[in-house]
Symmetry: C2
Subunit: 346 residues, 2 copies
C-alpha cells in the first residue's frame, strides 16, 4: 500500500509523474472523461488508488465554482431547532438522501471566522450549490434575499414565488381527521389551533373546510387559540373547553406534543380518554404511538419530506437552466389509534 498517513500529500501531479501522463490527462481520466482512452483511464485510476490519491475539494471548488455542498438554513428560535422532533426528522432524512446523492450538508448561520455575513453571503462564501430552508422566520429580509437569489433554493412548508416548496399537506390531514371523527359519530368537535404560522393556518382552514363540507356548524367557543408545540398552553385551552356549559365530545390539538398538556388536564379532572372525552393530535410523532391510548393523529411523512427536498434540490442544481419551480405536496397518513370513541349518536 502506498496510502499516506498524515496530511494528504498525493496530488494529481504526483500521479502524473508516476505514470507518465500529463496532469491534464490525469485529471480527465479521474473524472471519467470520454476524451481519454480506456486503457489510459484504467492505468491512471489504478495508480491513483495505489497512491491513495484524494482530490482537494478546495482546489476543485476554486476552479469549478461548485462544491458538492448543500446549505441548510434552520434556525433555533426558542430552542426548538433540532430538538423539534418533526423538523429534526425532516432534516435527518434530507441529510441521508443528500449524502446518497453525493452532497455534504453545511449549516448556514450569520457568523463565520470573525465576521458577520448575511445568509446569502454565507452561502456564496461556502459556494453552496443549493440551499434548503426550513423552520425559520420566512419574513426575515435575510431569508427573502437568499430565496430570491440565483442560488437554487428549496423551502419546506412555506411557499415563495419561483422557489420549489416541499409541503406537508396540512389541509388534507386536518380534513381526514375531522372526517374520521365525524364518522365516529362526533358532532361536537373543538379545535385548538397553534400560533399563526403558515402551517397552522392551513390546518385551521382545513378544519373549517371539512366542517362546512359536513354541514357541521362549530360554535365560536369551540375554537381556542394556544401556542404551537406548548403543552402548558394547550392544557389551559383544554380546561376552558371542558368547562363550557355544552362541552365538546372531541378535542383536536395543534400537534401531538401539545396534546400532552391536554392529556394531563383531562386526567386531572378525573376524566378518561376516550370514554369521557375523545382527542386527536397532529404529526404522528413516535411518542403519539407509544402513549396509551394510542393517539388518533395524522402522520406527516417526514422521510418523504426530507428525501423529496434533497432530490428536488439536486435536480434544481443539475438542471439549473431548465428547472421550473414547483410545489410538491407530500401525503400523510391517518393513524386511527384509540383516542376517538365510537359514538352511536343520531
Amino acid at each position: 500500500m502506498f496510502a499516506q498517513i498524515g496530511a494528504n500529500l498525493v496530488t494529481i501531479k504526483d500521479i502524473s509523474k508516476r505514470c507518465g501522463y500529463s496532469t491534464s490527462t490525469v485529471s480527465k481520466a479521474l473524472n471519467r472523461s470520454l476524451e481519454i482512452g480506456q486503457k489510459t483511464t484504467a492505468i491512471i485510476q489504478q495508480t491513483a488508488m495505489e497512491m491513495g490519491y484524494l482530490p482537494n475539494s478546495a482546489a476543485r471548488s476554486l476552479k469549478t465554482n461548485r462544491s458538492n455542498n448543500l446549505g441548510v438554513l434552520f434556525i433555533d428560535e426558542m430552542q426548538s431547532g433540532l430538538a423539534h422532533e418533526y423538523f429534526s426528522a425532516v432534516i435527518n432524512s434530507f441529510k441521508v438522501e443528500a449524502e446518497r446523492l453525493g452532497y455534504d450538508i453545511t449549516f448556514i448561520s450569520h457568523n463565520i471566522g470573525n465576521m458577520q455575513m448575511s445568509y446569502y453571503d454565507h452561502c456564496k462564501y461556502r459556494k453552496c450549490d443549493g440551499v434548503v430552508v426550513a423552520c425559520v422566520d420566512f419574513n426575515d429580509p435575510d431569508v427573502v434575499e437568499l430565496v430570491q437569489s440565483e442560488i437554487p433554493t428549496i423551502t419546506i412548508d412555506h411557499i415563495f414565488n419561483d422557489c420549489t416548496a416541499i409541503l406537508s399537506d396540512n389541509l388534507r390531514g386536518t380534513k381526514d381527521l375531522v372526517n374520521h371523527i365525524y364518522a365516529s359519530g362526533h358532532r361536537k368537535i373543538a379545535y385548538i389551533h397553534g400560533e399563526n404560522t403558515s402551517v397552522t393556518k392551513r390546518r385551521l382552514a382545513g378544519f373549517h373546510k371539512a366542517c362546512r363540507a359536513l354541514n357541521l356548524t362549530v360554535p365560536n367557543d369551540y375554537i381556542k387559540p394556544a401556542r404551537y408545540h406548548d403543552p402548558q398552553s394547550s392544557g389551559l385551552a383544554t380546561r376552558e373547553l371542558l368547562s363550557l356549559s355544552d362541552p365538546p365530545t372531541c378535542i383536536m390539538y395543534p400537534d401531538d406534543f401539545s396534546y400532552i398538556g391536554g392529556m394531563n388536564e383531562i386526567e386531572k379532572q378525573g376524566l378518561s380518554i376516550p370514554e369521557d372525552i375523545s382527542v386527536a393530535g397532529y404529526d404522528g410523532i413516535y411518542l403519539s404511538q407509544v402513549l396509551r391510548p394510542k393517539l388518533c393523529t395524522f402522520r406527516q411523512d417526514t422521510d418523504a419530506l426530507g428525501t423529496e427536498a434533497a432530490k428536488n434540490l439536486v435536480d434544481a442544481i443539475v438542471d439549473q437552466k431548465t428547472y421550473i419551480a414547483k410545489q410538491i405536496w407530500i401525503e400523510g397518513q391517518l393513524l386511527v389509534g384509540n383516542s376517538v370513541k365510537k359514538l352511536d349518536s343520531e
Copy 2:
C-alpha cells in the same frame, strides 16, 4: 451601494486596482496584519465594504489548508440519529457554539460526489479543522482511524486514548437518583438497564455502587435488561417486575423515553403513579417534565455538553501543538418531580 447582485465577482484584485495598493497589501489589510499602516488598512477595509467584497473560502482553504469548518460524525443507526432528543439537543448546542466561534459545521459521511471514502478521508477532503464524534459505533475501524488521526477530534460520551472526551456523568446521575429514592424511604428498588453501550454500562455501575454504599442488597430479579430508548421493551420488563411475588416499590428506567412503556403498562394494570408504584427515568428531556405526574429523573445538561465540546475542539485546533487531551465531565441535575412517593417505612 456597489454590492454585487448575482455571482460574486469582487476579488482582492479588484480592490487592489480600485485603491491602488497591491493585492498583497490588500490581503494583509483585510486580515488586519500589523504590517500594514493604519490609514491604509482603513482605506482598504472601506473599499472592500463598498465593493461588497466577499472572500473566497476555496481559494483561502487551498492556500492555508484550513477551512473554518468542523466535521460532525453522527450516524443514524436505527433511525434514531437526529430524532434522538438527547443527541439532537447536544448537536444543536454544539452548532450554536461553533457558529459563535466562527466555525461552520458539516456532516461527515461515507459518500461524496460519486465516490465512497472513509470518514478520515472525507475530513481531509473537506479540510475539516476538527471533528466531533457522537452517537456512533465506537468500535467501527473507520471511526477509530479518524480518532487516531492527526485531525483534532473530540468524542462525546466515549473515552479514547489521546482524545478529549466530553462526558455526561452517568455514574453520578444514577447515584443521585438512587440516593433520592432511598431517602424517600424505598428499599425495594428495581433497575431496568438499556442495551450495552458505554453510557448504559456506567448507569448500571452507578446503580450498583450506590446500592452498595447504602448497604442495600438488590435481588437479581430486580435487574431487568431492555432495549435502550424502546418503550415496548421496557414495558415488558415492567410487567415482569410487577408480577414478581415480592415486587419493587420503585422502578428505575434506562431513559425517560423508555419510561413511557412502563407508564402504559402500569396504568394498564390499574395501578397509579406514584401511589401504587414509584418510577424514575433518566435524561430529563422536555417530555418528562410535561407528563403528569412529573417524572423524577436526572437531567443531562445537553447545552453544556455541546458547548464544551465546541469550545474544547476549537481550543484543540488553535493550540494544536500544546493541547493535551482531557476528559471533561459535565454535571447534571436531579429533577425530583412527583413520581417517587415518600414512604414512611422503617
